[in-house]
């Protein structure tokens, strides 16, 4: 079976800098692959190549077997849910309009959109009667992020991309949303690529972790393997788990 997403010797130069170097990586249907790395390691760049927000300078990224450069970018993006740090909700749209965006662009009938939006809001625990008519500014950070997740799920895409979705949240809300995400994943079983710099989050969410360092793939491992993996960058990340390891 062809992998859902496949990076083949992908390099990317942005502004004269090699952000990504010869990345090769397959993402199988149903898994949650976490791209872990420091700021500037190339993880967000790699993510943006999947929905053709960026194209490789060399190599190719294949989605469902077709290189992103050969896809109609609009069609490709409507098949991929995308959640970013500040949710990126449209401030002039209500929650209902935000969540129903892609179905509307895809020309679904209004009744079907409404039913879908309400079901999704239930699923992310934002009762539609209370939240559907609100604007993003009337929500808390955690609520906005949940609307962002609902929006990404709206047209039932086979693949979801998350770019540090919980990065701007307070620790308590963050843990709540991580739990909700895991529950949601069990329910819907979608493929996801998840970018984070938080090793705890990576270990919690991932079926596999891809550690990027200076634009290269350093380690590719399951969370259990990752804990025992060799290498300085792995150790640097694992040190974050151990408060005793922080020099006074």
């Amino acid at each position: 079976m062809t992998p859902l997403v496949s990076f083949r010797n992908v390099s990317c130069r942005l502004g004269g800098k090699d952000v990504l170097r010869e990345l090769s990586l397959d993402i199988e249907a149903g898994e949650t692959l976490v791209l872990l790395g420091r700021s500037g390691s190339g993880k967000t760049t790699a993510l943006k190549m999947v929905n053709a927000l960026l194209l490789p300078s060399a190599g190719e990224v294949r989605v469902e077997g077709t290189p992103t450069a050969a896809w109609d970018a609009i069609r490709l993006r409507r098949r991929i849910g995308y959640v970013i740090q500040e949710a990126g909700l449209f401030p002039h749209f209500t929650v209902e309009q935000n969540v129903g965006l892609v179905p509307r662009l895809e020309g679904w009938p209004a009744e079907k959109i409404r039913a879908r939006v309400h079901a999704l809001l239930e699923q992310v625990e934002l009762p539609p009667a209370q939240f559907a008519a609100r604007y993003p500014r009337e929500l808390s950070g955690g609520q906005r992020q949940r609307v962002g997740v609902a929006r990404a799920l709206a047209a039932d895409p086979p693949l979801l991309l998350f770019d540090e979705p919980f990065g701007a949240l307070d620790p308590v809300t963050r843990v709540e949303l991580q739990r909700q995400f895991l529950a949601l994943r069990r329910e819907i079983g979608k493929t996801a690529i998840f970018v984070t710099h938080d090793v705890r989050e990576a270990l919690l969410m991932a079926t596999r972790i891809a550690l990027l360092h200076d634009g290269r793939l350093d380690v590719l491992a399951t969370p259990a393997e990752f804990l025992r993996a060799p290498g300085e960058e792995v150790r640097a990340f694992l040190a974050c788990l151990d408060p005793q390891g922080i020099p006074a």
């Binding site: 929905n51 927000l53 970018a73 609009i74 069609r75 490709l76 993006r77 409507r78 991929i80 995308y82 970013i84 740090q85 500040e86 949710a87 990126g88 909700l89 449209f90 401030p91 002039h92 965006l101 892609v102 662009l105 604007y135 993003p136 500014r137 929006r151 991309l161």
Partner: protein
């Protein structure tokens, strides 16, 4: 005040409003699409903004004068006045269109693209609604300025409330100057208030 004077005030005020409204309609029709285009052509921004900035620095009386000998655009009369007023009004509308669209939150723009919006959908459903308030603020600033500048149009036969002002200046008649200046100031306040109200109504979020 005689009835004849009243009638003349009304007549010149209407003429003034028509002059300003025509100029603003043309300026907006040019500057708004130009501003949108410029957001897509970053290298052009400097040149076009530079031109609009320079137009704004030319003293208005001089600009009216310069236009008189220009073929097609120039000469004596209303259309020359409109050309000059349009040139002045371009900059604020252009600048605010650019600022409004470029000011749309990066995360919002990125997620619009990532959701699979086409360029047209991005413009009409996201950029323009979110920039509307800033753009209208530019139109308001330009309109208020144009109401004032339009009084100078009388110097080249453009008509409007400036007719009173120039006549009053020539005959050292304060009352007549005021007959032009007061309605012009009143128009400016009215435009400022009305467009300011519309701006608040448009508030996206």
């Amino acid at each position: 005040m005689t009835l004849a004077l009243w009638n003349e005030i009304v007549e010149l005020t209407v003429e003034h409003v028509v002059l300003v409204a025509t100029s603003m309609a043309i300026a907006t029709a040019v500057a708004l699409p130009a501003g949108i285009l410029l957001t897509r052509r970053a290298p052009l921004q400097r040149w076009v903004m530079g031109f609009a900035n320079i137009m704004q620095t030319v003293p208005s009386l001089a600009l009216f004068g310069f236009l008189i000998p220009v073929p097609l655009l120039g000469g004596i009369g209303k259309h020359t006045a409109i050309v000059a007023l349009v040139l002045y009004a371009l900059l604020p509308v252009l600048r605010n269109t650019l600022a409004g669209i470029l000011g749309v939150d990066r995360a919002v723009r990125e997620s619009a693209i990532a959701m699979g919006m086409t360029g047209r959908q991005l413009l009409w459903e996201v950029e323009l609604p979110l920039a509307a308030r800033t753009i209208l603020a530019g139109v308001r600033v330009a309109t208020v300025a144009t109401i004032g500048t339009a009084t100078i149009a009388a110097a080249i036969g453009g008509g409007g409330l400036g007719v009173f002002i120039f006549q009053g200046l020539a005959s050292v008649d304060t009352a007549q100057i005021l007959a032009g200046a007061v309605p012009a100031a009143f128009l400016a306040l009215l435009a400022d208030g009305g467009l300011g109200w519309a701006e608040k109504k448009l508030s996206p979020a």
